[in-house]
């Protein structure tokens, strides 16, 4: 029998093995068959019939127990290391044999489960204020910097768990299962980020919903958003990055993929809010909140750039940038809307008494408040491809913002012009123009607004004011004074003519006084100037006239009967003007 030759025996043994494998559908069955063979013939000894891949069988034995176990492998660190060590051997052996490959796939599926269970453990949560007393150092746990203002609960993953996750991740990546691993990781972290952002009071809002939201409520949402952005970019996302880098240490592509997937949704939701607000914010009163948002994003851009610098998350950078620019465009839109509102303010709404118009007050105070954010506004206006050249010429500033402000002033003044024409009395028109012009000049005299409008503008305004004043004098008092002129043709002459003049003067003066009694000049200095100018025009002329009248009448004192106003009275009455209908002193 021994003379069958080695070949023959090998073939025989190979045949026996083949029979055992094909007939034996399970390992135990195959074993049984081999046992029968070996019992049958000494040549079919168990050793010789041991299979071709002893190493693989051994691995299978080591791994199958874990793969099919009901208990989590990682609930026992000893079990986990055994499992990993066997798995490493399997991976190292290369997966060419289908059995090996199948085994590998099963292990990977199991690892997915283990990974998921580990990462979703409700590990101890740490309040932001807590100290980390782990001697591993703060490096081991993604912890938020203690923030005084608000409660942030950072999902703390114990360093042991992180190490476990990492050990799983390395094997999964080595076996070509990086995507699955990153995906599970991201799902879990996304949940966490969603919750965090939700705690900060942020939820998805569409432009339409925002449009329907009352402004007060929206202001609150914006304030929450500014805070949430800061927390997200400065705390949450960096924490995620740190965690990612630990779990996927040495596996940079998987780390980037996982990080991008984890943060994407939250980042888009936050940035989307800014877009939605930008779209619905046209009303001028919204400027300040939109400026807040603009500044918030602007200040966070550097961090965003560095956070999302890998290939998978770089689109978030361009998103953030676009949204920043969008907020800028919204701010420019607000200024256009302001212009709109001024231009459309109806000319027929005139202020009785020619006083300060509400729109003047509104616009000037608005511009002053806006200019408090001058630096940001310059940035916003320049961004539109404007000249961007802020000249050093203080007289004539020409930065984009300066041009914009000056333009609004023009629109305002143009509107006031139209309003002034509504008054039937041209003198009242002029008082109206002077009142509003003075207010404008006062408000634009100093501060950022003044600097933006420049010296030349200020000089021009002053010149206009003076022109108006001169015109007012002429219009309001010209007639009164003209009647007192006694030199020249038609002047002088008989007492009768003079007395007639006096009567006319009385009438005119009374009329003018009555007309102008109700007029208002709120600015004290302007009020004085107007009174003084009027007094300066009327009183000397009156005094002179009275003097001449006495001479003509030759001291008979007839004029005393006609005299309605003493010089003092004239002064007093003029001094009463422009206080409005209240507090008129009886002469």
């Amino acid at each position: 029998m021994e003379r069958m030759g080695e070949d023959g025996e090998d073939k025989l043994i190979a045949m026996a093995r083949h029979i055992a494998r094909t007939l034996g559908r399970t390992d135990t069955m195959a074993d049984d068959i081999l046992q029968i063979f070996s019992n049958f013939d000494g040549r079919f000894s168990r050793e010789k019939l041991s299979d071709e891949h002893p190493a693989l069988s051994s691995l299978e034995r080591r791994l199958r127990a874990y793969v099919s176990s009901d208990r989590p492998i990682w609930s026992d660190s000893g079990a986990a290391s055994e499992f990993l060590s066997a798995l490493d051997d399997l991976i190292a052996a290369g997966g060419l044999h289908p059995r090996a490959d199948d085994l590998l796939q099963q292990c990977m599926l199991r690892l997915e489960e283990e990974f998921r269970m580990l990462i979703e453990q409700p590990a101890g949560t740490i309040d932001s204020g807590d100290e980390e007393d782990d001697s591993d150092g703060e490096d081991s746990i993604p912890v938020a910097y203690p923030v005084a203002d608000y409660d942030i609960i950072i999902d703390a993953i114990p360093p042991g768990t992180v190490a476990d996750l990492h050990s799983i991740a390395t094997r999964m990546v080595a076996a070509g299962f990086a995507k699955e691993c990153a995906h599970i990781y991201a799902l879990s972290r996304r949940d966490f980020l969603d919750e965090s952002v939700s705690r900060l009071g942020i939820r998805a809002r569409t432009s339409e919903e925002l449009q329907a939201t009352p402004w007060g409520e929206l202001e609150d949402e914006i304030a929450r958003w500014v805070r949430a952005m800061s927390v997200a970019v400065r705390i949450l996302f960096p924490s995620e990055r740190r965690l990612c880098d630990k779990v996927f240490a040495g596996l940079s592509q998987a780390a980037d993929l996982a990080f991008a997937e984890a943060c994407r949704g939250t980042a888009i939701q936050l940035l989307g809010f800014a877009d939605a607000v930008a779209v619905v914010s046209r009303a001028p009163e919204r400027l300040f909140k939109v400026l807040d948002m603009y500044e918030a994003v602007r200040d966070l851009i550097p961090e965003i750039e560095s956070l999302f610098s890998d290939q998978y998350s770089s689109f978030l950078r361009s998103e953030a940038f676009a949204i920043w620019k969008g907020l800028g465009a919204a701010i420019r839109g607000i200024f256009m809307e302001l212009e709109n509102l001024i231009r459309r303010d109806p000319a027929k709404a005139s202020v009785p008494g020619g006083g300060l118009h509400p729109i003047t007050r509104y616009v000037m105070n608005y511009l002053r408040a806006a200019c408090a954010s001058r630096r940001t506004l310059e940035q916003v206006m320049d961004d539109d491809g404007g000249s961007g050249l802020a000249t050093t010429d203080l007289d004539r500033p020409s930065s984009s913002l300066a041009v914009q402000i000056a333009w609004i002033m023009e629109v305002l003044q143009s509107n006031l012009e139209a309003k002034s024409k509504v008054y039937k009395d041209p003198s009242l028109s002029l008082v109206f123009l002077m009142n509003n012009g003075r207010y404008i000049s006062q408000k634009a005299r100093d501060g950022e607004l003044g600097a933006l409008l420049g010296e030349e503008w200020a000089r021009r305004e002053a010149a206009r004011l003076r022109r108006w004043m001169t015109e007012y004098q002429r219009m309001a008092w010209g007639k009164v004074v003209a009647v007192l002129k006694t030199d020249g043709p038609g002047g002088g002459g008989s007492g009768k003519a003079m007395r007639e003049r006096l009567r006319l003067f009385n009438g005119y003066f009374e009329d003018v006084w009555r007309e102008q009694r109700g007029w208002v000049v709120p600015d004290e200095r302007l009020r004085e100037e107007l009174r003084e100018a009027a007094v300066g025009m009327v009183v000397p002329a009156y005094e002179g006239f009275l003097g001449r009248l006495r001479v003509v009448e030759g001291g008979r004192g007839v004029e005393k009967q006609l005299l309605m106003f003493s010089v003092g009275d004239v002064e007093t009455r003029i001094g009463d003007l422009f206080q409005g209908s209240s507090s008129v002193r009886r002469p």
């Binding site: 590998l104 599926l109 979703e120 994407r264 779209v279 491809g385 050249l389 004539r396």
Partner: protein, 399 residues
């Protein structure tokens, strides 16, 4: 009403910008009060109508299969082209645009546009949703890589799991989008997945996820479309005359906007999709025929049995559903060792799937970019529109 007072020698605008403004101001005054030279403006408006019609005809009968990703991208392209031309028309007629009755028409038009922005955001979320499915499919194609000598049990297991994840993902989306009042159950605590079964999927009762970040839970695409199309009707003769002819391009552009948004909602998964939006365009308009034809074909598609409950009418979604179902059946029926003919079948379907997966990746990226671009263009065009109504003296060219 020129502020002639302020054109004194000491003008504050020494910079060039101002002189351009003055030139424009003069131009405007020349145009003020009477029509532009009738023929050139008419030509421009007619040209726009014709061009829109041509583009839409090409879209309806061109090489791209209706509702496929390339077709959708072409659809968005058509929108962008029309919008650009429309912008130019607004610019050239800005004097008219800033006054009644056109100012009201334009402001209504921009209101529709704002509503469309929300659709863009929802669509973008939808594209991301499809990407998630795509990721599962990628895993399937890796598992069933044709370069593998044989398909082992392990690979099939992996593919099977990925297909199961895909199925769950698509089902979730249906749940989430099916009702506008779908409730996202937030659990602030973690549920401990002490799972005993290997096949346990991560769905503890009541917690399902919607990948919608950009719109709130109660947002409805169907409602939004209704709002976009609200009061949209062809301008009457006297309106056309009163608006200097501009009412027609405004109506055209609004209709194009509505159709584009409607088609996007039809194709891409999003919250509370609904296709009932009323489309009635008088066939007087040359562009109406292709729109109505495409509309009809899309409605037909939606009524087909196998597409009735689908997440989105996108051709590629249908292809995915079919391939995935086929593959799942084959895999479920597979016994080991795998007979060669069965293996061939599986490989074949896997091959089909690989082709779909490979082209989809780039197409989805391109589409997302395009949707973003449409979004930004709409915003930009609205800002310009506000500028026209704000002042026809000054114009700021955006970049």
């Amino acid at each position: 009403m020129p502020a002639t007072d302020y054109q004194g020698s000491s003008s504050p605008f020494a910079s060039i910008g101002r002189s351009i403004l003055s030139i424009r101001r003069d131009q405007v005054h020349a145009m003020d009060g009477h029509h532009e030279h009738g023929s050139s403006q008419e030509q421009e408006l007619d040209g726009f109508q014709r061009h829109a019609a041509d583009l839409l005809h090409d879209l309806a009968g061109g090489g791209e299969e209706l509702l496929s990703l390339p077709w959708i991208r072409k659809l968005l392209n058509v929108f962008v082209i029309c919008q650009e031309e429309f912008r130019v028309i607004l610019f050239n007629n800005r004097a008219c645009v800033s006054r009644a009755p056109v100012d009201r028409l334009i402001s209504e038009f921009f209101e529709r546009n704002v509503k469309a922005l929300d659709v863009c955001n929802a669509i973008r979320d939808g594209i991301e949703q499809v990407r998630q499915w795509h990721k599962h499919l990628e895993i399937v194609t890796v598992a069933l890589d044709p370069s593998l000598r044989t398909i082992g049990e392990g690979q099939l297991r992996r593919a099977k799991k990925a297909l199961a994840d895909l199925a769950v993902g698509m089902l979730e989306e249906k749940d989430a989008t099916g009702s506008a009042l779908a409730h996202r159950n937030r659990s602030f605590g973690r549920s401990n997945h002490a799972s005993s079964s290997r096949d346990h999927h991560r769905h503890p009762g009541g917690h399902f996820r919607s990948l919608s970040w950009s719109v709130s839970r109660s947002w409805s695409a169907a409602r939004q479309l209704q709002a976009i199309g609200n009061n949209l009707s062809a301008p009457r003769g006297h309106e056309i005359v009163a608006s200097n002819g501009l009412a027609v391009p405004v109506f055209t552009m609004s209709s194009v906007l509505l159709f584009v948004m409607w088609a996007l909602v039809a194709a891409i998964p999003c919250q509370d999709r609904g296709l009932q939006t009323h489309f009635s365009f008088s066939r007087n308009f040359s562009w109406a025929a292709p729109i109505l034809s495409m509309h009809e074909r899309i409605i037909e598609e939606s009524k087909k049995r196998e597409r009735k409950n689908s997440n989105g009418l996108l051709k590629e979604i249908h292809q995915i559903e079919k391939c995935a179902r086929q593959l799942s059946e084959l895999i479920d029926a597979a016994h080991f060792p795998l007979p060669e003919n069965k293996e061939m079948e599986i490989r074949q379907v896997a091959q089909e799937l690989t082709q779909i997966v490979n082209t989809m990746r780039e197409e989805l990226d391109l589409l997302e970019r395009q949707v973003r671009e449409v979004f930004h263009r709409i915003i930009r065009s609205r800002t310009e529109g506000v500028a026209y109504t704000a002042s026809h003296f000054r114009l700021r060219r955006n970049e």
